[in-house]
């Protein structure tokens, strides 16, 4: 298997894309630390990974807290002695027009999605430099490349992740560490369940979550909403030696959808 004996941390791994990434990495042989702010969900994923015959560990982490992130690293190194792959995936979304957006909403998006990425990858980088190897993968978004109404705070944070990853890749290349991001398109997760509900509410006029989803699928050249597993497959590739010569990239996994304007 491609990731035998590798140690991986996945943040935001309790559900959705993070959970699918964790399970896919484990299926390839990796031992996976499940980091999430929701410890109950994290423990459930740990159980699923142990059922696959891998070692796993649940750590409650608020990625906006440097203390929590340091604790996540310490617990991982204590149990596994090394960290080969860091998947910085924890993220949040909400919808609001700029004109009505309270500052708290802006801060929450920027803190979790962008600053969280900085804190998590910085902690991983410090350890990986001492190993002179490692792979860092960040979940950005299609929103990291284009802009849509009601998600200015989310688009700002994800654009930030895309650029941050490019800079970090330049800095860590001399140590043999690669840094890439993935940009998921419309993916069926609980985050999307909320988004399509918000969209339907905002639009009114008979719009339903189902009709919004159908519209998303119609905007996607491959004709369907993506699944978390679609993203996980690309993360497995980025985590493996098959992607050894790739760094600083932002990989679209969108079914061909281009979210520009």
């Amino acid at each position: 298997m491609r990731l035998d004996h590798k140690t991986v941390i996945v943040t935001g791994a309790g559900r959705g894309i993070g959970r699918a990434i964790a399970l896919s990495l484990a299926k390839e042989g990796a031992n996976v630390v499940i980091s999430d702010i929701n410890l109950k969900e994290a423990k459930q994923v740990v159980k699923e990974i142990k059922d696959l015959g891998r070692t796993s560990l649940a750590v409650k982490t608020d990625v906006t807290s440097k203390n929590d992130v340091d604790e996540l690293m310490n617990k991982t190194i204590e149990k596994f002695s090394s960290l080969d792959i860091m998947v910085s995936n924890a993220g949040v979304s909400s919808m609001e027009n700029v004109i009505d957006m309270p500052e708290e909403k802006w801060d929450f998006s920027m803190d979790v999605n962008l600053k969280g990425t900085f804190l998590v990858t910085q902690a991983a980088a410090k350890h990986m430099i001492s190993q002179q190897k490692g792979k860092i993968i960040c979940t950005a978004s299609m929103a990291g490349k284009g802009g849509v109404a009601t998600q200015a705070h989310y688009n700002a944070s994800k654009h930030g992740v895309v650029a941050y990853v490019k800079s970090l890749a330049q800095e860590l290349a001399p140590y043999g560490i690669t840094v890439n991001s993935i940009c998921p398109g419309s993916i069926k997760t609980s985050m999307q369940d909320r988004e399509v509900q918000w969209s339907a509410n905002i639009r009114g006029a008979g719009a339903t979550p189902e009709s919004i989803r159908e519209e998303m699928a119609n905007f996607t050249p491959l004709g369907r909403i993506g699944l978390p597993e679609d993203i996980a497959k690309v993360v497995v590739f980025l985590a493996s030696d098959d992607s050894a010569f790739m760094t600083g990239q932002a990989i679209n996994v969108t079914g061909g959808q281009i979210n520009t304007m």
Binding site: M110, K115, F118, G147, N155, H159, A163, Y164
Partner: protein, 260 residues
């Protein structure tokens, strides 16, 4: 040409680019308001331009920005053009960057865009007209080493401006970003000051233009701002303009960055 019924605000005027933008808008005939974190800086820049209003504003403070907008509205009744040139930079590896340094850079560069955009939207929507331009950087796209927080903040600003452009497209408000190709000495000096670091000797020229050099890039950028603000730019929104192609990977990967 005179635009004496048009009003423009420029936030941040401590670098050559911002000063060139101020001069350009002044000569185009706008009623000009210039702000900066430092009172002496804004007074210095406006002293050469008659009837220009100086206001000291910390763009990390929503209160400061709202007050500045109110001063302008009291004086001129409306705001036609807003340019945010507030930027700071810190040249430091991501692994060495403190949380406080990260926050300072992202707040100054990106949150300021959100505060400023939000502060002017009501009056622009009421007038069914307006132009918002954010001065960002080509690092948003290239992501050079030692500028991770700066690159992240610049691309985050572009993401914000792109979304905002979608939200106000039916209000005849245009929102664009402009990307400069070098980091001004003043950005690094102010960045060092606000993060309690040693100021660097020089600015950093990240990428090399085949057409222009560091000496005349500010003027070229100012010309584009004037164009985007004018009637000629009325079909342009949601864009991030640079002055030249981005494919300078060769220099970037070799770590070749000329100082000036």
């Amino acid at each position: 040409m005179t635009l004496s019924d048009k009003t423009a605000i420029v936030f941040g005027c401590n670098g050559n680019i911002a000063q060139m933008i101020c001069k350009k808008l002044y000569h185009e005939g706008y009623n000009l308001i210039v702000t900066d974190l430092k009172k002496e800086q804004v007074n210095k820049v406006t002293s050469e331009m008659k009837n220009t209003t100086p206001i000291d504003v910390d763009v990390r403070s929503e209160k400061d920005i709202k007050e500045a907008v109110q001063i302008v509205l009291n004086k001129y009744k409306k705001i036609d053009v807003v340019v945010n040139c507030s930027r700071i930079a810190l040249f430091k590896e991501a692994v060495e960057l403190t949380e406080q340094e990260w926050d300072t850079i992202v707040d100054f560069n990106t949150k300021s865009m959100y505060y400023i955009g939000k502060a002017v939207l009501n009056t622009m929507i009421e007038n069914n007209a307006g132009v918002i331009i954010g001065m960002t950087s080509k690092t948003a796209n290239s992501g050079p080493a030692n500028l991770s927080a700066y690159s992240a903040s610049m691309n985050a600003s572009i993401g914000f401006l792109r979304s905002l452009s979608c939200e106000v497209r039916n209000n005849n408000i245009r929102v664009n970003a402009l990307c400069s190709g070098f980091i001004e000495h003043e950005e690094l000096v102010l960045g060092a000051e606000l993060t309690q670091n040693e100021p660097p000797d020089k600015g950093i020229y990240i990428q090399f233009s085949p057409l222009i050099n560091v000496a005349n890039e500010p003027e070229a950028l100012a010309n584009i701002i004037a164009f985007l603000a004018s009637k000629q730019g009325e079909f342009i929104t949601g864009q991030a303009y640079s002055l030249w192609d981005d494919d300078m990977t060769y220099y970037r990967n070799l770590g070749q960055m000329a100082e000036f």
